[in-house]
């Protein structure tokens, strides 16, 4: 807490000073993320992971300004304008949601600002719309679903019922799953975004004759679905991306999630030094287990710090080259950027388990190795 307050105070002071001009070696980061409203848990985790890495590095040249977008695109756009025009930030980061990223990122890169995405990875920015100032440090949106599909093949599922909300990321989810999954579709259903009652869909699953269920329902939607599914008497195996089984959500789902396999690029028991250090430091600092989102925020900050050691942010080409080297110890182990500056990394299968009183994930095994995204070929860079 103390650290956060200090940083906040520093940012406020900087604001009061009327936008200090960039000095040699200094990098000013503008973080726009979701800190209030329904999706706040994700933004808070990204922020905490990022600030933890900044604190551990102790680099005085790094200055961070944090603002809350309330998950609203119009507010994110206003904040971005303010950060670029009056705060004169060099690098932007923090956005969680793809629709907000699409509203902010193209404008920011057009004005010569670097953007490092700690979460959202819309396909439009990975293919034709790739940009040399835009780096994605998390994944392209389809990736975790592709990893879930690869797992479904390994598990021998032949007839999956698929479920996702009716919005672009939901359609990407089914596309991603079907890209790797080789079996039949027992049914494909798009639900309303923000839907809370899944009784109708669960009845369809029961009647469909499926042998497995794939779902992408982020946030509260996933909590509702899993609780209702567990209580319905349908006991087909469920598989999905990590978003519905994340540390912040699992405690609210409880027993209903136990044993479910999900796909992720990270887990807290991933065996590498950087990850052990991160998990221990995060628990020490914030007194809770880190989530996927916290790990992405942490990696984003470390990527930025590694580039700051090599180049000055005012030299755009040199700084871009330094970022692209990805010369930092990622908590995911292996990490590099493809030609479209999206990750090439391994994906894993995790299983929800109970450790003491806490529901969490355990690593089961690899799903996809050295996996890039399907849009990289469209990127002319």
């Amino acid at each position: 807490m103390k650290m956060k307050t200090l940083v906040m105070a520093a940012s406020v002071a900087a604001l009061a000073a009327g936008g200090a001009w960039a000095e040699e070696g200094k990098v000013k980061v503008g973080m726009i993320t979701t800190l209030s409203g329904g999706g706040a848990g994700l933004g808070i985790d990204v922020r905490d992971g990022f600030m933890l890495a900044a604190k551990m590095a102790g680099n005085e040249n790094l200055e961070v300004v944090i603002e809350d977008d309330q998950r609203k695109p119009e507010i994110a756009v206003q904040l971005a304008d303010k950060m670029i025009q009056s705060e004169k930030v060099d690098v932007m980061t923090g956005i969680i949601w793809s629709n907000l990223a699409m509203a902010v990122v193209p404008a920011a890169t057009a004005q010569g600002k670097f953007y490092l995405s700690p979460n959202a990875g819309p396909s439009a920015l990975a293919g034709k719309g790739c940009n040399k100032l835009y780096f994605n440090v998390a994944w392209q949106n389809d990736n975790l679903h592709e990893a879930a599909g690869a797992y479904a093949n390994d598990a021998g599922y032949k007839n999956t019922f698929m479920l996702a909300p009716n919005y672009p990321a939901g359609k990407d989810a089914l596309t991603g799953y079907k890209r790797t999954y080789k079996g039949e579709a027992a049914g494909e259903v798009y639900t309303d975004l923000g839907q809370t009652d899944y009784a109708a869909q669960i009845a369809q699953i029961r009647a469909s004759g499926a042998d497995s269920v794939f779902f992408f329902l982020p946030g509260g939607m996933g909590i509702s679905f899993l609780k209702q599914y567990a209580n319905s008497g349908v006991d087909l195996p469920v598989v999905g991306p990590a978003f519905s089984f994340d540390q912040g959500i699992l405690q609210a789902v409880g027993e209903a999630a136990l044993g479910i396999k999900n796909a992720s690029q990270w887990n807290k028991d991933l065996d590498n030094e950087a990850n052990k250090e991160f998990v221990a430091a995060f628990q020490e600092e914030y007194d809770r287990l880190p989530s996927l989102y916290a790990s992405q925020g942490y990696d984003t900050a470390n990527l930025l710090l590694s580039a700051m050691d090599k180049a000055d942010v005012s030299d755009e080409d040199a700084f871009q080259a330094a970022l692209k080297e990805a010369d930092f110890a990622s908590v995911r182990g292996k990490f590099s950027f493809g030609n479209n500056q999206h990750p090439i990394q391994d994906y894993y299968v995790r299983e929800v388990v109970k450790e003491g009183d806490v529901y969490t994930n355990k690593l089961v095994g690899p799903s996809l190795t050295d996996h890039a995204d399907a849009y990289a070929a469209d990127c002319k860079m």
Binding site: S36, G37, E188, T196, A199, S224, N231, Q251, A252
Partner: protein, 305 residues
């Protein structure tokens, strides 16, 4: 589609309608009697769910959790009625919308301040968990049947309260002519607080009942609030009977629409396009229903001009 699946979906529609009724009943009473648009009604639903989750976590008893939900929502209702809402009765609807919207923000941030940003856990009591076998071989979750039962009992209780008791007479009189009943010596301020607390308690109860099968999180009330407004517009403002019929209509249309429309389109379209078009149309179906009702009955099914 088999008959069993259809019956199961009808049950699902009835159950979601009953939950909507608990929200809409309070909203329609408050609007009908006091002429107040209360956007913060969804926040009272959230207060109920959070109170239930907190008490269930502390005591392990679902029954105590329900009592806590009723009490907390009623208390929150009394509090905002006496401090804020009371000043709004004579103002126009725009002022009411602004002030109660501010209350939504205050409740949301207050809840986050108290409980944090992560969703809370609230589960069905073990006695009510799992499915039961209905006649005809339909497997249906017991808890949802209980919700239907509780909702119908509350609907019956409300009808009796309004039709047969002294308070009911005062409520109906207040709806018809508030100056007159004030002149007859009824303490109108107290009556309003009471109605507001009653509406709030119903919303809180709905929040707790639904919270057990959904996600207890900040902002959970707003999507339900929108549906509840659709319900009272369809049913006719101020009518409890209208709220019940409207809620069932909305619940059934929503549930059956999302199941049947994609199937309908699959008859003459390619599968994935049918899913996409059908789902999009299904999410519009209740608004089309509302527009249809308003076309033929501009005051709603049971509303008076």
């Amino acid at each position: 589609m088999s008959l069993i699946l259809l019956i199961e979906q009808v049950l699902n529609g009835v159950q979601s309608g009953i939950m909507l009724f608990l929200m809409a009943a309070g909203l329609t009473l408050i609007f009908g009697v006091m002429g107040l648009i209360n956007l913060a009604h969804g926040s009272l639903y959230m207060v109920g769910a959070f109170a239930a989750a907190a008490v269930a976590a502390a005591t392990g008893s679902f029954l105590l959790a329900l009592v806590a939900a009723l009490a907390a929502a009623a208390l929150a209702g009394c509090l905002i009625e006496m401090t804020v809402i009371r000043r709004l009765y004579d103002r126009d609807h725009l002022d009411q919308v602004l002030a109660t919207f501010a209350l939504i923000l205050i409740f949301s941030e207050g809840t986050r301040f108290l409980f944090g940003s992560f969703p809370l856990f609230l589960d069905i009591p073990s006695a009510l968990s799992g499915p039961v076998m209905l006649p005809g071989g339909i497997q249906y979750p017991l808890y949802r049947l209980v919700i239907i039962g509780v909702g119908l009992a509350i609907a019956a209780g409300l009808f009796l309260l309004i039709a047969r008791t002294r308070i009911g007479i005062q409520i109906r009189a207040g709806e018809a002519d508030r100056e007159m009943i004030a002149a007859l010596g009824v303490d109108i301020a107290k009556l309003y607080t009471l109605i507001f607390a009653l509406g709030a308690a119903l919303a809180g109860l709905a929040g707790a009942l639904v919270g057990a099968i959904q996600s207890v999180q900040v902002g959970m009330g707003e999507p339900v609030l929108i549906l509840a407004f659709v319900v009272i517009v369809i049913g006719g403002i101020g009518s409890i009977k209208g709220a019940l019929i409207g809620a069932l209509l909305v619940g059934l249309t929503d549930t059956l629409g999302s199941v049947l429309l994609p199937l309908l389109f699959a008859n003459f379209m390619e599968a994935s396009a049918a899913t996409s078009v059908g789902s999009s149309l299904a999410s519009m179906s209740i608004y089309i229903l509302m527009a249809g009702v308003l076309l033929f009955k501009p005051t709603g099914l049971f509303g008076e001009a």
